[in-house]
Symmetry: C2
Subunit: 236 residues, 2 copies
């Protein structure tokens, strides 16, 4: 074993250091579609291509802080409002032609009602794209989004993150539709409801929503049920 290569015997200046960035896959659900926020690159390389929002990790902030910072820069959403989770770290040499860049990818869910209305003056630089038909993406960002979608679906099946796509109050049909769009499959109404009833993670709130048929009850996620839900599968 070459001593000079072990972590415990190094000189800080001895190694060429890679750059470290944080990239954040921001999911939202609107117009009956699962969408991701992308930004248009304004410089070389991949100038003009779309990319996941991201940036350098500051020397004195945590990775999670950096992810929340990137999220806030693009959406003005703050950390107590969203679900955010570290996804994977991508670091192949050559994934960025400029220099060695290792990126810690995160994914997050922002509900449509948390988003400011699209500002059109800025429209060519930032956009929401269907995760099922993304534009050509810079670097390995297509791979990152693909993996984020896989993880999101997986999470949806055994935890309660699906609620993060909806406003505080929602109907069961809205929740089911959210699951169907993200999972890409149709679900049975009766089974969906009975499963949620057994899971005991929702509570009825006052009020109804008119829908064209019988008015639907409004529900809210029970905050005290978060920990409990994480241990068991909800779907399929």
């Amino acid at each position: 074993m070459n001593i000079s290569e072990t972590a415990e015997n190094y000189d800080v200046s001895q190694y060429e250091r890679p750059s470290v960035t944080v990239d954040v896959v921001i999911f939202s659900l609107f117009d009956e579609d699962l969408r991701v926020l992308l930004v248009k690159r304004r410089s070389w390389p991949s100038k003009g291509m779309w990319a996941i929002p991201g940036g350098f990790v500051h020397i004195d902030e945590t990775l999670e802080d950096a992810a929340y910072r990137e999220l806030a820069e693009e959406t003005h959403v703050t950390r107590d409002q969203v679900y955010l989770e570290q996804l994977y770290t991508f670091g192949n040499p050559g994934r960025d032609p400029r220099t060695r860049v290792i990126t810690v990818a995160y994914f997050t869910i922002v509900s449509a009602d948390q988003l400011a209305p699209q500002a059109d003056d800025d429209a060519t630089d930032v956009g929401w794209f269907s995760v099922y038909a993304p534009p050509p993406l810079a670097f390995d960002h297509a791979q990152i989004i693909e993996y984020a979608l896989k993880r999101l679906r997986y999470k949806l099946e055994y935890s309660a993150v699906g609620f993060q796509f909806l406003p505080e109050k929602f109907t069961l049909r809205e929740l089911q539709t959210a699951y169907e769009i993200v999972l890409g499959t149709k679900l049975d109404k009766g089974n969906f409801r009975s499963k949620l009833r057994k899971a005991n993670v929702l509570e009825i709130v006052d009020g109804y929503r008119n829908t064209g048929g019988r008015p639907a009850r409004l529900y809210r996620f029970r905050e005290d049920a978060v920990a409990e839900v994480k241990t068991r599968r909800l779907f399929p």
Copy 2:
């Protein structure tokens, strides 16, 4: 948004770069115990404390290559022989007092028969410790091991990684014992076996093992079943 802080408009020399290391939690199973390989630190900080093997990521190698390299340095085990998976990236400022060090943690499983017998000349620098009673650990390595154990247990429950702890041929009792040690619970013999039968991931090989009672059949993992197994839960 401050333009100078975005990934797409940067000057390579503009930011102070963190160091990036790879740490590898190496699990093995022997002496009826789940163990991790630790190395004794020979320099400041935490001199004399035990730590997970790790080291710097070279500028031209992938993260996974770096992890395999660290694994090989400590165990001489090569990449086609083991299961290795990226665990999580730990990067809190202050986790290493020298400078900002971001570490990409991996975990791996090495079967006891792959390990060279302990060389005693080196005995004070490298050692296998019970994951249930580790010594005081440097940096945040206790947290990393704890998380690796959690993930390992999780993986065991819905995939076939448990086989990685055993030699190529093994008895069902040996496999069950491996699961029991890692999961920390007793399993029912009949149910364990019928579940494996239904999963259809094993095949009988010739030969028996004498055990003090009726000789036990030897089994081998069916290579062509790997992908299939990943999609469904095996345990509980």
